[in-house]
Amino acid sequence: MNNFRLIVLFFFVVLSVNAQKTVRYDLYVRDTIVNFTGKPKRAIAVNGQIPMPTLTFTEGDIAEIYVHNELEEDTSLHWHGLFLPNKEDGVPNLTQMPIKPHTIHKYTFPIIQNGTHWYHSHTELQEQIGMYGSFVLNKRANDPTFRKGIDDLPTVPVILSEWTDMDPNNVHRLLHNASDWFAIQKGTTQSYSEAIKAGHFKTKVTNEWKRMNAMDVSDVYYDKFLINGKSESQLSQFKSGDKVRLRVSNGGASTNFWLTYAGGKITVVANDGSDVEPVEVDRLLIAASETYDVVVIIPADKTAYEFMATSEDRTKSSSLYIGNGIKQLVDPLPKLKYFEGMKMMNDMMKMNGDLDDMGMSMSLNQMDMNVVMYPEITGEAKGKSDKKMTGDDYNSNKLSDITTLNYAMLKSPMKTTLPKDVPVKELRFELTGNMNRYVWSLDNKVVSETDKILIKKGENVRIVLHNGSMMRHPMHLHGHDFRLLNGQGDYAPLKNVVDIMPMETDTLEFNANVDGDWFFHCHILYHMMSGMGRIFSYENQPPNPLITNPKLAQRKLFADDRMFHFMAENDFATNGNDGEAMYANTRWSIGTEWRLGYNDMHGYEVETHIGRYIGKMQWLMPFVGFDWRYRRMGIDEHEQNLFGQADTKDNRAVFSAGVNYTLPLLIIAQAEIFTDGNLRLQFERKDIPVSKRLRMSLMWNTDKEYMAGLRYIVRRNFGITTHYDSDMGVGFGMSLNY
């Protein structure tokens, strides 16, 4: 009893000391011009800086953050990994309305946790151009979980990010249009001639036979990678023997980073803001939006040791030198062996587009299929080996001396079990995707195609995720930490992001303890904007006072993944103009192709199709269309088509209905019936990657038309072409594309 009284008294004292401490930040969001590459580009700075300023609080504080939107567009700020009332979560059109230009919005919430977190804009693609920053919550000095030798070390917030000179809206559009410009910039086209040179011709044919385009571990080419906004910087305040705790957040929009250190092992002490038992590794991969606290030691005098963040595709890196003096570099990560990866993908891909894990039940990043591409683990590329791989061949920790962190190694220092005797709701999601059309979804449905998922306050929610797509996805849950079931029993680590690799299955669970509409989504920015997510909504919750018109808010939220993307190209050739334009979104496509001759003999024709993609792989597209053409006395005269029907090539204005189907080798078969009763079958393959920059196209149809063309890609929207067309003959020209 006495004890109890003491405890009450103690709490009272703590509360009275801490409760009133309000920490205020004012954030001024402004347009700015930056110059990372030699070219001035638009970005968004907060209080004049990129990354945004580090916000620091102590557990028990009350945060008051005033956002002054001085942009000409909407904005918002999301506090990543924080437990807070739903209306402070910062997801526009879901937990609040967007912060309008030239207005001030106040976020306020009590700080009821500690650890390394970060914050970023949740509005459109603003995160890509500067709106990310560290959010550090210190433990109270008398916290019972205070760890001597860890929590009292000098700490440095470290936020990783990337920079592209391209407007992110354009990046997003190019991704949806299957442009391989990023692959050309990275040198990862994986064309036929490169395949032959590497002794992998068969691999490439099999890959296309299984209807895959060249794959990479990441989607976007970046000009620079940054640590705290710089590609290189130094922490010269530290000296030999010092231990330094780095609070690393990955604020990259779509990049996972490898972390390596020149001064020896890296000790991981926390993940996603929650403490873990210290674990020593040689390297770790920090997925987009994850945070890790790591401790490094400076082993020698007068030396600064390189702490390096390398993008997962290993195109570039960023360095932080820790210590004072001569800079000891770390081994750079060698280039990926792409054709080995392609071969691995071929083995895993079934003809119907599903992935086959060949009986290896994979989870928690323990087996990394990409290991076949890592020269430091599996040796330099050497021709072909036909050995069948088994589970252990993908376990990098068993294959070499290099210890790589995986989720199974994370253990919470205290029990993290959920309340017992409450109902359990189990949900299963398959992560689905279609690289060719850049559609990313859960169970083949994007956010706008689904209802909110209702959960009850008090129940335990268990989510089983299986990644059936070909990319890895860091799945993030707002407002809650979940336990990642990783074999550590009661000590399962607490996380709010789980990076899940292709073919993996992971299970996570959390107690539903705070009302609201909470977003659960892939944190690759361009996947999220494509609709890869769901919304968890508490049943019978009070309405959100910030959402005055829920219908309007939902329509605006859904507009993100319903957005149409436009592309167009035209070949200005000696024998006419050839081109197409397309306007497409997740399911629909409106496309027009044209051929315009310079005289009546060559004639002109326009074909327009409006179609809807069907199925997970979107190989099937039924469409309706309109075909209009005219010419006089063409050079390739036929009385009849292959089916003995009258040829109407010289004068035709008809409606049509038909269907596109993608065949192996990425050949598009098209069957189309016109209102005049004519039938046409057509086979077309576009953009065969002959060499790094050379593309070939082939076409033939039952109207006895055929075409063969070559295009050399000079720049992103400019190419040199030559083609032969049965209607128009030989032509040379240049193509412009948008």
Binding site: G241, P299, T303, L329, T403
Partner: protein, 281 residues
């Protein structure tokens, strides 16, 4: 005639200057030290540092000085020196990664003057800190007496994991040296007893492993060497936990500082075969 020669000279110099100008705009020239050895180093350094139209590096083998001329609007000294360091060559700004240095040809492996030796790591510091009373001091000294024996054993084991017979022979030689250096009289009674028992076998086994480079033979002998080392480490203890591991395929045990299985009897063929049977603390 003389004047013609002069004119020619001037013209030539002019030409060469304009040529450099054509190559690198806004050229800035600096002279820095780069550590290296031989003619081969020269070509490697220059190739690593130079970039067409942006940077030109010329290194003198005798003075170890490099002349950098570069377009200051496009690059800087740091970038050039970093590229050279990544090729394996230290400068006064950067130290090459160890891997890059060690993969240089033998003739290129210069003395790394710029590198400061790494101090004893924090772990041993921590052990020093925990010393509280005289008896535990003598305890730790006793352990240290055999520490180098075990450390050499672990090096030998690592060589066997990698399947490098030559390295294994060298490490076994080190082990032999460590064994002969042990001052028996400083060992405590129980450790002394075990030491007397295993000494002959330990000596013979390590001598035999060092005498051959045949990895198969070495692995065979390593079985009994491991068994004796186990008996020894069980009484004498080691400064950190040691795992006694067992491979059913070889029907043999070994000692390791890591709980992760890396099999010295099969190397890369069966690297992860085996399990931990005992943890010695």
């Amino acid at each position: 005639m003389n004047s013609l020669k002069k004119i020619m000279m001037v013209a030539l110099t002019m030409l060469s200057i304009t040529k450099i100008d054509a190559q690198i705009k806004n050229a800035k020239t600096e002279v820095v030290k780069i550590y290296g050895n031989c003619g081969m180093c020269k070509s490697k350094i220059e190739k690593a540092g130079s970039l067409k139209n942006i940077a030109q590096v010329s290194w003198d083998k005798e003075t170890k000085m490099a002349t950098l001329s570069y377009d200051a609007s496009k690059t800087n000294q740091e970038e050039i020196l970093k590229r050279i360091a990544l090729a394996g060559y230290d400068s006064d700004v950067f130290l090459a990664p160890d891997k890059a240095y060690s993969s240089l040809d033998e003739c290129c492996q210069y003395d790394r003057e710029a590198k400061v030796p790494v101090k004893a790591d924090a772990k041993t510091d921590a052990i020093g800190m925990t010393v509280v009373n005289p008896s535990s001091v003598s305890e730790s000294q006793k352990a240290n007496e055999l520490q180098s024996v075990f450390e050499s054993y672990f090096l030998l084991k690592d060589a066997l994991i990698k399947g490098e017979g030559k390295l294994a022979a060298e490490n076994s030689q080190k082990l032999l040296t460590a064994i002969t250096a042990v001052k028996m009289e400083t060992l405590s009674m129980d450790v002394h007893m075990v030491w007397m028992k295993v000494l002959n076998d330990l000596t013979a086994d390590s001598k035999n492993i060092s005498a051959t480079q045949d990895i198969k033979k070495q692995r065979e002998i390593f079985k009994s060497l491991s068994k004796n080392s186990y008996e020894l480490i069980k009484v004498s203890k080691f400064s950190e936990p040691v795992y006694y591991e067992y491979c059913p395929m070889a029907d043999a045990n070994w000692l390791s500082k890591e709980s992760v299985i890396k099999n010295p009897y099969y190397g890369s063929q069966m690297l992860s075969c085996g399990k931990v049977v005992e943890t010695i603390k």
